[in-house]
Amino acid sequence: MKGTHLGEFEELVLLGTAVLDGNAYTVTIVEEIHANTGRMLTLSSVHTVLTRLEKKGFVHSYMGGTLKERGGRRRRLYKITSAGYQTLNNTRDVRNRMWEVMPKFSFEFIS
């Protein structure tokens, strides 16, 4: 079914939103992901993904307070919904299950 599947990028952003609990918006998410993975995402791509996640119902957004550097402009803060949380969990479960059934590998390298 459309909408329940999470792409890798979406998963990352959704995780970021969940981690930042209550203080998640584009800038902080970019920083959080950078801190954890070293990947420098652009603001616009994160924003686009957040919009898409909201449309899928995995996050919901509200306008929050402002900061000085923002010139009085409010932030759009994102919060993970239970559906979003569920999906993240599912994703992890799938991984875990598949990890568990994976045979042990011993790699022989051919020189």
Binding site: Y25, T26, V27, S44, S45, R70
Partner: protein, 869 residues
């Protein structure tokens, strides 16, 4: 230190595209990010990244119009309408295809006809005073002339109070024009009065319109010609040398360039390259009422009536020529508005090959008919399709859809289809434009889809269809109580409720189809007829050489050279040739009271052989021309006109001042096109100075050698002249019939389109009916109904309607054809077989297309139709 802030222009770009919904947060995020980066990488890099980020934010969903659309309260219902339309179309592809295809085809045909007609109708509309400018002409006994004597212009200027300005156009056809090294042979010049540029709207690039032609030695050039002689130099004040070919002394006349005008628009009957001042002629000559050779245009005072000009001019002419009462009654002064010249006149001595309003009528009415046929197809199919959805409407109503919503649903669905058709039309027009241009040979603007004359009719057609085919089922259906529809279990509204409207539409459609098909056949036959008619002479294998003063002088030598060439059968010189205009003169039998008008052709003794014209009586010219000893041959028409029952041979006649014996009678031959009847013709053996053409009759296979020989001999005998102008006579005739040829092709294509539209319309409705009555058919079959009976049952309705349509269509076609044919001097007779065959063809078309569908339904296994109950 300067205060650091994000670049302004980038911000403005963001504010320009981004919808308000996202703007605040996005801009805030970006600013916050900018200040963070400012610490890390400095102001320039941060500013650059800021700008890049803004560009990367540019996504469809953040755009202002998109957000506006999504937030529109109707967005959802629009979305659902499009979705449902798509599903309906997918379920019944054939009906959708027929509807959109039909409509697009009809609209395209109509629009092309419209563009073409508009182009032709817009001739000479660019003159600002066009509504007050008239061309003065004369008509003698119903034979109208475009040209007038020089004196007439001067007379009306002085004596008619309503005439504000007057200008004469005296053609200068063959002229050598020289500037320094550049010398060319020019054919498109006029001498004109200085008022020309105050009357006609020609745009001056350089020079003063008011004074440009006052000096007798002045000349005004079009931009094209100016560039040809002067390149990028400024031509103003430069001296051109003209040597006019008709001038026997070969004088060189200097002309000073006093003005440059933009090239003459293609949509004008007056095409020229340069204009000289007419005042090189002396004042006396300018008042002479002798030859009819100049074109006189007058501008009347605002709101005045041309009748006064006519009566004053007529009086003067009558008294000048001392015409008798009868003759005066035959004379009429014509005032043709300049805008009508191109389409409505084709007079004697007409300067240009004009168009013909009848062809515009034909083309346009066919366009309109086809449009109506295709629209009726569309409306018909859409209405029955719409009414088929009674149950859906009932259900929607039951679950609470308001009437307004239902109407919107129908209108919206319809709109989607119509927009699709409109889009197809526009795309097709763009694709077809070059093809159409090549075919019509007109410089139609390529971007004609931006033309309001196209967009408005297109939108109007689509809106009308939207209203008819969308509103009708919507209102019919939403009127019913849902309970009735659902309870009755019928999918559809009983047919008899809408029967009448549909029947009337079908009858109109069939009638128009009948008229179109018959009309096409008549037009086609007529056009073929006039092209295949026996002209009375042989037009094939003749090469014409145009003679002018320079060529004529040494033509005898040239002729002798040519006669040596293998394959040349004969060479003849004459003042004119069939296919070109032949001058009209008065002819009178010596001693007889009455004067007659006759065409006068000067020709040498080989003319009849060259053109294979039959000599009925008497003898040919014998080739020994002595001064003052004229001989004439008459054609049958002229002999009968002048001499009646008397035997014409060896009687004396006078024509154009020359008196001589009638020595021979030739069989009538048609020297004009077959639009006009054979006119009286007198052939004279006299003056060689008037010979305008040489005709070379050659053996069929040696055309190439002869053209080469003409070139070689031409260069030998006329080393100083440009190559001789040659033309194949049959090409000339093809040119004369070009309009007919094109029309013939167009009519053929349109006829096919009409048949196609009719078939698809019938096919669409029949498919629907067969589908509706599938169960009935199945039951009939199970109970033992035979195939023929079934076909009869299902086709009866169409035959019945067709019968009605034939009652309207046949007489309609008859009268329209008759009206159109009356323009032709030689015409086919409207015999019953044409009509019977056309009617039969229509019946067969309708039977086959409805029969095919019915046949499929009737041969299907009845189980298929009956099992799902």
């Amino acid at each position: 230190m300067k205060k650091k802030s994000p670049p302004d222009w980038a911000d403005r770009f963001l504010e320009w595209y981004c919808s308000d919904y996202y703007l605040e947060e996005v801009q805030g995020d970006l600013h916050e990010w900018y200040y963070k980066e400012l610490q890390r990488i400095g102001p320039r890099a941060a500013g650059f990244r800021y700008a890049v980020a803004i560009i990367r934010y540019f996504r469809l969903f953040r755009l202002k119009p998109v957000q506006k659309l999504i937030n529109n309260p109707n967005y959802l219902s629009m979305k659902s309408i499009i979705k449902i339309t798509y599903r309906n179309l997918r379920r019944d592809k054939i009906s959708g295809l027929i509807r959109v295809g039909n409509l697009s085809l009809g609209v395209i045909v109509f629009l092309l006809a419209l563009v073409y007609s508009k182009y032709e109708l817009n001739y000479d509309r660019f003159h600002e005073k066009g509504d007050r400018i008239f061309r003065v002409g004369m008509s003698f006994g119903g034979n109208p002339w475009a040209a007038t004597p020089l004196g007439m212009g001067a007379f009306v200027q002085d004596n008619v109070p309503e005439v504000k300005r007057m200008t004469r156009f005296a053609p200068i056809r063959n002229t050598w024009v020289k500037f320094g090294e550049n010398q060319f042979y020019e054919k498109g010049g006029f001498s004109a009065d200085s008022s020309i540029f105050e009357m006609f709207t020609y745009t001056f690039i350089q020079g003063d319109p008011k004074t440009a032609l006052i000096d007798p030695r002045s000349i005004v050039l079009t931009e094209r010609i100016a560039r040809k002689y002067f390149g990028n130099e400024n031509p103003m004040g430069k001296r051109l040398e003209l040597s006019i070919d008709q001038d026997r002394e070969g004088n060189i006349e200097p002309r000073i360039v006093t003005g440059i005008i933009e090239d003459i628009p293609q949509q004008s009957h007056l095409q020229f390259d340069f204009i000289c001042s007419i005042y090189t002629f002396d004042a006396d000559f300018l008042r002479k009422w002798r030859n009819f050779w100049v074109y006189t245009y007058v501008e009347l005072e605002e709101g005045s009536d041309p009748d006064n000009t006519k009566s004053i001019t007529k009086e003067e002419f009558v008294s000048l020529r001392s015409l008798s009462k009868d003759e005066a009654a035959q004379l009429e002064i014509l005032m043709t508005p300049v805008e009508r010249i191109h389409l409505y006149t084709n007079h004697e001595k007409e300067y240009a090959d004009n168009g013909n309003i009848l062809y515009i009528y034909i083309l346009f009415s066919i366009g309109v008919f086809i449009l109506i046929v295709s629209c009726i197809n569309y409306v018909n199919l859409t209405i029955i399709k719409g009414l088929d959805r009674a149950r859906e409407v009932g259900l929607r109503k039951t679950v609470g859809a308001s009437r307004h919503q239902l109407v919107m649903q129908f209108l919206g669905e319809n709109m989607v289809l119509l927009s699709l058709a409109g889009l197809i039309c526009l795309i097709a027009l763009v694709i077809l434009a070059p093809v159409f241009q090549r075919f019509s040979g007109l410089d139609l603007p390529l971007n004609f889809i931006y033309d309001p004359a196209i967009i408005f009719p297109l939108v109007a057609i689509l809106l009308t269809l939207e209203l008819i085919s969308g509103l009708y089922p919507a209102f019919v259906l939403t009127k019913f109580r849902p309970v009735d529809i659902i309870k009755s279990g019928t999918q559809t509204v009983p047919m008899r409720k809408i029967g009448l409207t549909r029947k009337v539409l079908i009858i109109i459609q069939f009638s128009l189809s009948v008229i179109l098909v018959i009309g096409s056949i008549v037009v086609f036959n007529q056009l073929r007829f006039i092209q295949r008619q026996d002209l009375g002479f042989e037009k094939d294998q003749i090469i014409l050489i145009k003679l002018n003063q320079s060529v004529r002088g040494k033509f005898k030598a040239f002729e002798n050279e040519m006669l040596q060439i293998q394959g040349v059968r004969s060479v003849s010189t004459s003042s004119s040739v069939p296919g070109y205009r032949i001058m009209l003169e008065d002819v009178i039998e010596i001693g007889a009271p009455d004067e007659y008008g006759s065409r006068l052709l000067f020709a040498d003794e080989t003319f009849l052989d060259t053109y294979e014209i039959d000599l009925l009586e008497g003898r040919h010219f014998d080739g020994t021309i002595k001064r003052g000893e004229n001989e004439f041959m008459l054609n049958q028409k002229a002999a009968e006109m002048v001499f009646g029952d008397k035997h014409p041979l060896n009687n004396e006649i006078t024509i154009a001042g020359d008196t001589g014996l009638v020595v021979g009678i030739v069989k009538d031959f048609n020297f004009q096109t077959l639009h006009s009847e054979v006119e009286p013709l007198t052939i004279s053996n006299l003056p060689i100075a008037l010979f305008g053409y040489a005709s070379i009759k050659f053996e069929a296979k040696s055309a190439k050698e002869i053209l080469e020989a003409i070139d070689v001999n031409g260069r030998k005998i006329y080393p100083e002249l440009p190559p001789l102008e040659t033309e194949f006579l049959d090409n000339r005739f093809e040119l004369l019939y070009m309009a007919e040829n094109k029309l013939q092709n167009i009519v053929w294509i349109f006829c096919m389109i009409t048949i196609l539209l009719t078939i698809s319309g019938v096919f669409g409705v029949a498919t629907y009916n067969a589908h509706k009555r599938a169960k009935e058919i199945a039951i009939r079959k199970v109970l033992g109904g035979d195939l023929l009976g079934l076909l009869q049952q299902l086709s009866r309705e169409y035959l019945y309607l067709l019968g009605f349509s034939l009652l309207i269509g046949l007489p309609g076609a008859f009268y329209l054809s008759k009206w159109w044919l009356q323009d032709f001097a030689y015409r086919i007779s409207l015999d019953p077989p044409t009509f019977l065959i056309s009617a039969l063809v229509m019946i067969i078309i309708i039977l086959v297309s409805s029969g095919f569908v019915t046949f499929r339904a009737a041969t299907a296994n009845p189980v298929e139709a009956l099992k799902n109950e």
